[in-house]
């Protein structure tokens, strides 16, 4: 005996996740164009590890393996890990991070939809605490061929191939007392932010707008995150432009646009009410800025996201929208 409704829209979790993967493609393509095919290798490694770990633990948990593996949620996590981690990281760290994010952060909490923390960001935090030096080895700007990439992720140490990230360079430069304008002449910087990274940022922006158009995400989270970052960095910048980088620099650097459209928009671990989304994303932006400028790590998005994940139940509870007919209550 079935109950109403007897019809349903032809959507599925798989379709939602697939749309997210499609939205990541422009950025991946630009990544390859700027830095070489290494990122694709990393994406493949992470995807295989994530799917393998997901299948294994689903089997242990006696859940329908095919149904849940084919929802593609593990693949999305894998891609986000590959895109947020340094590309020349030893492959075993990438594998470890992916397996931990699937097993410990997602499945041990109950699997799809049950994890209180963003799996990719939790993995990032774990790794940056556990392997701080490996996690801050980024490739120098410029194309890297496949064999060099394979050597590097195989564990070879090729110092000449690594460089500081723009945020790192900025931090080091400012610590040495140089004004922002001098620091920005460093080779790591491009037109707006990090050299090469600006282009990838545009790729995330394009993918994010596509997600909004497909109604996979709403405008609230990206807008509040980007807007929050612009406001807080703008205030500091206007107060002392010699010492603080411009809002535009912050937008184009680090994982700002990746986070705006693909990280803070994770529905499972994020706030869900319209007002809650604004508070959630703006708070992440604020914490990110504070960590970038005053904390011990060059980029703070991952920590900011985890901190705000903790606040989600409270935010959701306190921002419940008024329901139909109760507007005056």
């Amino acid at each position: 005996m079935l109950t109403s409704p007897f019809v349903r829209k032809p959507t599925s979790v798989q379709q939602v996740m697939f749309t997210v993967l499609v939205a990541l493609l422009p950025a991946v393509a630009l990544y390859v164009w700027q830095f070489g095919p290494g990122i694709v290798v990393n994406i493949i490694i992470a995807t295989l590890s994530a799917v393998g770990a997901e299948a294994a633990i689903l089997k242990l948990r006696k859940k329908p393996v095919g149904l849940y593996v084919s929802d593609l949620s593990a693949v999305v996590t894998a891609w986000l890990i590959a895109l947020t981690f340094p590309t020349i990281l030893p492959a075993w760290i990438l594998i470890l991070a992916t397996v931990l994010s699937i097993v410990a952060v997602k499945q041990l909490y109950g699997g799809l939809g049950q994890n209180p923390f963003n799996p990719a960001m939790a993995a990032y935090c774990l790794m940056i605490v556990a392997y701080p030096s490996a996690m801050s080895q980024w490739p120098a700007a410029g194309w890297m061929d496949l064999s060099t990439h394979l050597q590097l992720i195989g564990g070879a140490s090729l110092d000449a191939m690594t460089g500081a990230t723009p945020l790192d360079a900025l931090r080091t430069g400012l610590r040495s007392g140089a004004p922002v304008s001098d620091v920005l002449t460093h080779e790591a910087f491009g037109i707006l932010g990090g050299r090469g990274w600006e282009w990838i940022g545009l790729g995330y922006l394009a993918g994010g707008l596509f997600l909004i158009q497909r109604r996979v995400i709403t405008w609230h989270l990206p807008t509040a995150f980007v807007g929050g970052l612009i406001i807080v960095s703008g205030l500091f910048w206007m107060a002392n432009p010699a010492h603080y980088a411009s809002p535009l620099f912050h937008l184009a650097s680090g994982g700002t646009l990746l986070a705006a459209f693909f990280i803070v928009t994770d529905p499972v671990s994020g706030a869900t009410t319209p007002r809650g989304k604004l508070i959630f994303a703006a708070s992440i932006a604020l914490i990110t800025y504070l960590i970038r400028n005053f904390g011990a790590y060059p980029d703070g998005i991952a920590f900011a996201v985890l901190l705000m994940n903790l606040c989600v139940p409270l935010i959701d509870m306190k921002t419940q929208p008024r329901v139909f007919g109760h507007k005056g209550d």
């Binding site: 007897f6 996979v216 499972v268 329901v323 139909f324």
Partner: protein, 557 residues
Amino acid sequence: MIAGLFRFKGGIKPETHKNASAGAPIQIAPLPPQLIVPLRQSPRATAECIVVPGQKVLKGERIGLPDSPLSTAVHAPTSGTVVEITPHAMAHPSGLQTRCVVIEPDGDERWIERPTLDYESASPKEALAWLRDHGIVGLGGATFPSHIKAGVDGGIETLILNGAECEPWITCDDRLMRERADGIVAGALILKHLTGAREIVFGVEDNKPQAIEALRTAIHGLSGDITVIPVPSLYPAGGEKQLIRVLTGVEIPHGKLGGDFGVQCFNVGTAYAVNRAINHGEPLVSRVMTVTGNVDKPGNFEVLIGTPVEALLALGQPKADTGRILMGGPMMGFELPRLDVPATKATNCLIATSPALFPPPPPEMNCIRCGACAAACPAELQPFELYWFSRAKNFGKAQEYHLFDCIECGCCSYVCPSKIRLVDYYRFAKGEIWAREREKSAADAARERFEFRNERQAREKREKAEKLAAKAAATKAKLAATSADAPAAADAPAGPDEAKRALIAAALERAKAQKAAVEPKNTDALTPEQAAQVADADARRAAQAATDTAADAPESN
């Protein structure tokens, strides 16, 4: 005048499938061999049966009397003979039974006398009673008695006629508006008069241009404020509260009625029935219904109330691979557990399903809190939160998040990418909460009864003791008086004791007599074995009583 349209949040645009039957004119459904007319035609009220088996009835003759304020009369849908009055399965998801009058048609369709009512000169009370006695209820699906809605005492500004018909597949209101717009408008004018409304607004989804055109033609040249407004086709635009919102901007909260806000809403079919009742003297004995889905000949039929569903379905000629049969639309209708049930005043559509048209539900996955349900909810709820609370049986929290504002329209289940049957969880939670409240009120009643009983027993004991004491005192006084008279002073100490003993003996005597009087007397028409058993038991009881008395004897003083 409506200046501009408002919109309600949420809503969905499912495939309408209305083209299947929208082109089919209303046909009169053939007389079935038997009509099964439920005496329960509106919620919370069953009419009192006034016919007996064997009785001849005419079409439109009253067979059930309204016996409560929410009740309406029930009529014979055709002329014929009452065969029996029996409980019969209703069109209900769990096949509940209700008392039905089974009528065998004589095929003549002979009407009773049909006096009409001049509603403009009649008193409002008279007109409302007329509606009740002609069995007029809301034909949009809820079958709420129209005389109650039309009888809201004043304060109605806007009368809305609901022709939105937002559920997929259904076209009966569409056809009615296209073909009988004059009757609908006439009914609307009557309802306007009864409610005292200032303006009439027809709300019709803009996917029914011919219906809108027909209504506009029908209102042409009429004086007064009367308009036909096309509303955007967005399910559930035909929900009463949603339509009121779209047309007037007013939001009616849960538990409140349109009347409280100066708006009253009737289905176009109801308006048509009101017109037939008042201007033509015809009670509500038939309605228009769509038969569609996996059938060769989808169509719209004027159907006598009480026609078995299987006969109606046959009119559409279901295809070979037809599976379940739905009553109502695919969003809010239900699956019929059996097909021998009668069509009622609420039945607007029958849909034959097939695996191709209505694929079986895919497996439920976990909620990913994507919020698609919240975006689709016309009640502006957070359906996924209600889902978590209902699933966790956290009913208090579910109520706090306005579970009872849910209208079960099904939009959330429709859009859920995880294929969660969300509405089922809310039905479960509502059912549990109702059950608990019933249990609680039952427990409260039981506790009150128990406390009352204790108190009564205590009071009786107290009164008895007082009475006894008073009596003893009286006897004592009497005895004292006698003993004072008599010189036998030596007997005096024994006096009170003797009096007590006499009292006890008298009480015992009374008790015995009482016991004999209430001895079980259900000993008529016993078989010999039973008689023997009874005798045996009596003997045992007597023996027991003897021992008991013996055992009690030392304490009896």
